[in-house]
Amino acid sequence: MSAMRANHGHRRSKAEPVSLIKCLTECGRGEDVEVVSVNAGFNARRRLYNLGIYPGSVIRKKKDAPFRGPLQIIVKGTNIVLGRGLASKIYVRCGESCTFD
């Protein structure tokens, strides 16, 4: 969205926060992101909610396993490992510093 606006010649101040919704696999490491939605199956979803990964909670990606393997994330102070397939079903809101990997 911000890219579109830039094309139309609008300027926005640097201080204005821009948030993007991405899946967890795409968001940058070490940044606090807010969970927007979890689109997994019933059981996996309920499990993730119980572990503290629910819409509105803040999580952080710590590490990607090699060869596009699972993700290590920090939820309420604990390390949780999530399979990449599952992580790609979790949508998060992240700030501008996010980089695609």
Binding site: V38, R47, A65, P70, Q72, N79, L86
Partner: protein, 682 residues
């Protein structure tokens, strides 16, 4: 009032007469629950299974201040939902009549996530004590917990504990006695804690409607022992198990219809799905509570990364991680086989000395001597020298790996690769253990969440060459042909695992589930705990698996004694001689290998020695390779088959056995003929 569950009045009578207190330990995995359990019950523990379930049940006893305590260590769980069998087992057990009191063990360094389970346990309205463990670590981090305020809020005893040092552990029991005594003469009433645990207005009003519906119109629902409020919450969560229970009640349709309507209303109102709403409200309650009780004095020097952090970084590193994984596997193998071989040889030597003197005094052809000594004592010694000496050091290494927290790192590294085999990364844990001994490794497959994954994991694990198999491979191929050929055999074995995994993945119904796993921080292994655990595991093995192995050994010995050697060899010779190109006598060796795989090599060496020739003359290089390969693949050993049957079913154990025999023969034959073919050309 609904606060008074029917089970409590029943329990009261029990403790009146005998002063027995039944305690269930509940908590998240890796919070030190087992350490507390060990501190309390020492070596009186028994490891069993929950009736009809493959979930492990740990029980122990102790006598303290004139009371007899029966303590059950529930499996580590995160919630009381239905995600895993452990969660279902736990909640069913807690509301059963066998629990007077729950001790909920909580990791102080991870309060919020741990309290999620606590808040669910509170809904079961069973007397409870909160044991906040790892207080020493919390203090080191300069964080203070207000225990008075905690007790004030929960209206339950909340005690600080440092489980590894045994601090505060027995105080838990003192408080337990106090509680039990306090409701000796009156009906127990669970404290009212609605001010900390109630949901938002929308959910709460609907819950109240459901609760009064249940209380007024469906009294039979209470037969299930769950408090009405717990049932109502689980119904809103669409909990399968609870809904199935409720479905059995007569004329329950209006209640279910109302529940469904409520769920739709709530989801519309909040714009999220119901489970998300409930979880987030519980976490909100937890946050509010934690803010009241926690004080962070000052954050000091958090810049320096701790040793645990560095280790974590290294062991999950995209290059070093795999090197370390390889070293760990190699370490398990070499430690297990070094100790096993050393002790096994000593025991075998002593046994053969005794055998000589027995033969001298009673005569070698004495039938009784053959059956009792060769069969009975020989079978026992065989099981001890061939299996037990590997199993004990192996348990020791697993306990170290488990206690330190390494294994989840391996699962993290291997998840992607394991997906090729149709399972997620956790399977690598039993597979790594398989390099030591397949028997406990297959039992370890119980950590897999679904039946499908458990079955595939067991099949793959049983194909891992264990320390005994590697003894054969190194002793034969490694010694006479060089390590390059060992590597080749190893690669063939890995290829077989890959093929079997692919086949099972394709043929078994269902899909591969995704990994969801906690990776707790590294910690220094506690040697007391490790030795104790090693002993308990070994004890279980000695009393449960060993007798069967010995019986099998004796019966085999007796069968072979009656000169059925020749006929067996004759029957097997089409396979051994023509297809695999081995000397016909090896058929019997392979049969012996079912008890303990390295027997194949031991017997081979003995036989060659009797003939007065070296093994490498008795067997050609091609034969050595085929023989080792068949030994690697042809059958899980007898003890492994039993464990597989216990974890799954006898049918599946038989299927795996047949599959592996046919694979071994197929591949052995192919290897044999291709070598013969190549040799012919050259």
């Amino acid at each position: 009032m609904s606060c008074h569950t029917p089970n409590n009045s029943h329990k009261k009578n029990d403790c009146d007469s005998e002063a027995i207190i039944n305690i269930a330990l509940a908590g998240n995995p890796n919070v030190g629950k087992s350490v507390i359990f060990n501190q309390l019950t020492g070596l009186s523990q028994t490891i069993g299974n929950w009736p009809g379930k493959t979930v492990e049940k740990l029980e122990g006893h102790l006598d303290f201040l004139g009371y007899h305590f029966n303590i059950v260590d529930l499996p580590g769980i995160y919630s009381l939902s239905t995600y895993s069998l452990e969660e279902i087992v736990s909640r069913e057990y807690i509301v059963s009549e066998n629990v007077d009191l729950i001790i909920n063990v909580i990791d102080a360094t991870n309060l919020e996530r741990n309290l999620f389970l606590t808040f669910q346990l509170l809904e079961l309205k069973v007397p409870m004590i909160l044991a906040i463990n790892q207080m020493d670590i919390l203090r080191k981090r300069n964080i203070e917990l207000d225990f008075d305020e905690l007790e004030n809020l929960f209206k339950l005893p909340v005690l600080p504990v440092v489980a590894v040092h045994g601090i505060g552990v027995h105080e838990l029991l003192e408080r337990a006695i106090e509680i039990i005594e306090s409701y000796k003469d009156i009906d127990y009433k669970f404290p009212d804690i609605t001010d900390i645990s109630s949901f938002g207005k929308e959910i709460e009003t609907k819950l109240q409607i459901l609760i009064s519906e249940i209380n007024d119109n469906y009294p039979h629902v209470m037969d299930y022992k769950y408090p009405a409020r717990f049932l109502a919450i689980k119904m809103l969560e669409k909990d399968e198990e609870i809904l199935n229970l409720i479905n059995n009640i007569e004329n329950v349709e209006p209640l279910l219809a109302k529940t469904t309507q409520f769920i739709t209303d709530l989801e519309d109102y909040h714009g999220e799905d119901i489970n998300s709403i409930i979880s987030s409200e519980i976490y909100n309650n937890i946050n509010q509570l934690v803010e009241k009780v926690i004080t962070i004095k000052k954050k000091k020097e958090m810049k320096r990364r701790s040793f645990a952090d560095k280790m974590d970084h290294l062991t999950t590193h995209s290059f070093w991680g795999y090197i370390i994984l390889f070293l760990v596997i190699f370490g398990i193998y070499s430690f297990t086989s070094a100790i096993g071989n050393f002790l096994g040889t000593i025991i075998d030597d002593v046994f053969s000395l005794w055998t000589e003197s027995i033969y001298l005094s009673f005569g070698e052809e004495n039938l009784l001597v053959k059956i009792l000594w060769d069969g009975g004592v020989g079978g026992f010694i065989g099981a001890v020298a061939g299996v037990l000496v590997y199993v004990i050091p192996f348990f020791f290494t697993i306990e170290i790996l488990q206690d330190s927290g390494y294994l989840p790192r391996a699962a993290f590294l291997m998840d992607k690769i394991m997906h090729v085999l149709g399972v997620h990364g956790k399977t690598i844990i039993p597979m790594i253990l398989g390099f030591g001994c397949n028997v406990p490794a297959c039992a370890g497959c119980r950590i897999m969440e679904t039946k499908r994954e458990k079955k595939i994991s067991i099949a793959l694990t049983s194909l891992i060459p264990c320390a005994a198999v590697m003894t054969v491979v190194f002793g034969l191929v490694g010694r006479y042909l060089g390590l390059g050929w060992v590597l080749l055999l190893f690669l063939i074995n890995l290829l077989v695992i890959l093929i079997v995994g692919r086949i099972l993945n394709k043929t078994m119904p269902g899909t591969c589930t995704e990994l969801i796993m906690e990776m707790h921080e590294y910690r220094k292994p506690n040697y007391k705990v490790i030795f104790k655990q090693t002993w308990l595991r070994s004890k279980e093995f000695i009393f449960k698996a060993l007798p069967i192995i010995i019986l099998f050994g004796i019966s085999l010995e007796i069968i072979l004694m009656f000169n059925v050697l020749e006929p067996i060899n004759a029957i097997l010779s089409p396979i051994t001689f023509f297809w695999l190109g081995l000397p016909a006598i090896t058929g019997v060796f392979l049969i012996y290998g079912i008890i303990r795989k390295e027997l194949t090599l031991v017997l081979l060496a003995l036989f060659a020695e009797n003939l007065g020739i070296a093994i490498n003359i008795f067997l050609s290089p091609i034969q050595m390779i085929t023989f080792s390969l068949v030994t690697m693949l042809y059958i899980p050993c007898f003890a492994t088959i039993i464990v597989i049957a216990k974890q799954t079913s006898w049918k599946y154990a038989l299927q795996i056995t047949l599959l592996e025999i046919s694979l071994a023969l197929l591949i052995g034959g192919i290897v044999n003929f291709s070598f013969v073919f190549i040799a012919g050309i050259l």
